[in-house]
Amino acid sequence: MSATTAAPPADGTIKRIVRRETHAARTVPAIIAAVFGILFCLYVLLESVLQSLGQEEWLIDPPTFAHWLAGLPRDADPLFLGLAGGLIFLAGLWFFLMAVLPGRRARYAIPNPRAAVVVEAEVLAASLARRSRISAGVTAGQVLVTVGRTRVEVRIRPTSGIPVNADAVRAAVEDELALTGLEPQPAVSIQISTMGAIGQ
């Protein structure tokens, strides 16, 4: 390396990038909330301009609305009121959960000395499926791999009449996981179907 090379990026930056890549940014709920907020504000803006000019209201007269609101549930259908309240409550709950839940994406960090490396669960599942398919000696259609954060599930439908060695498959999958270096390493569970596939 030449002397002009700047130091490689700091550990903190890498950690931050990995965190950002493996967690949702909440862009879609944010845009939905902002659009609804804008519509509401524009409506209030219109009515308040009409009020300040002394004009007739467009849809709702503020004083009338205030009296109706203060008298609830007198002048409203309780079913309609409860339904509206429930819907607003659910929408609020959704936005609140979006704010509070971690929002993990199906992506995993792979340790690397130079860069931040992130792999999608699907890519990892495909590589594990390939490894277990070779180890079990079956075709691609007979293996189903599900990758979760703490466990990897391998489901194999053996070819009819040819037994599959579950321990060998487990060893192969665990070896592949160890090479990948996920932190924490997921537990591997192998399920061999009792129904065989015919004519593979």
Binding site: A34, S52, P73, G82, G85, I110, E122, A126, T180
Partner: protein, 203 residues
């Protein structure tokens, strides 16, 4: 790798969510609970009367309208502008220039390296790897300098750590060639052809 204001997103979503929870919960309580409804009907009208008195007290000189209305209109206009800014802040941060430096050594001019340089170099090199189906490289501005995002779609079934190791070697070579190292994200993603059923499953 973009500069989406994530904390702001979560704080505003949380506040908005709590507001809607309070309104919705209140309406539910009013429609189902007789005691709550009675309390509300005892409390709210006096509040409305207070508000009405305040509107009368703040009437604009020579008119019957309160100056609180234009104030509310102004507040709403400002809020709309802020909300539009919030939307426009999502997903920003992509840049075209990887490096731009001025070296005060007497030679005129400054040196800029376009983001197309790492993009072309890394793409051409990575496509030699038989385990790689497609590559997309983009440049982003980070808190500390610029960063490269290398999106790789591996061939289905390829071992991710091998593809990542290959990409890391190429990034090291790029560092040596440019004389500068930037933050790099290598993201191994499933391309459209990968998609079979659920996101985290594959046959």
């Amino acid at each position: 790798m973009n500069r989406t204001p994530r904390t702001l997103n979560r704080v505003l979503l949380g506040l908005g969510g709590l507001l809607l929870l309070a309104v919705g919960g209140g309406l539910l309580l009013l429609s189902t609970n007789a005691a709550a409804a009675r309390w509300w009907q005892d409390t709210a009208p006096s509040l409305v009367a207070d508000a009405g008195r305040m509107l009368e007290d703040t009437a604009m000189p020579g008119q019957s309208q309160s100056w609180l209305w234009p104030l509310l209109a102004l507040a709403m206009a400002v809020t709309v502008v802020l909300l539009v800014l919030w939307i426009s802040a999502q997903g920003r941060g992509r840049v075209d220039t990887l490096l731009a430096e001025y070296d005060d050594d007497g030679a005129p001019g400054r040196i800029a390296v376009s983001g197309a340089v790492p993009e072309q170099a890394l793409r051409a090199a990575l496509q030699q790897d038989p385990d790689v189906t497609s590559v997309a490289v983009s440049t982003w501005s980070l808190r500390s300098g610029t960063g490269l995002r290398v999106r790789i779609t591996p061939r289905q079934g390829a071992a991710p750590h091998l593809v990542a190791a290959d990409a890391t070697h190429l990034v090291d070579a790029l560092d040596a060639a440019l004389g500068r190292s930037s933050t790099v994200l290598i993201s191994l993603e499933a391309g459209p052809r990968y998609r079979l059923g659920r996101e985290d499953r594959v046959r």
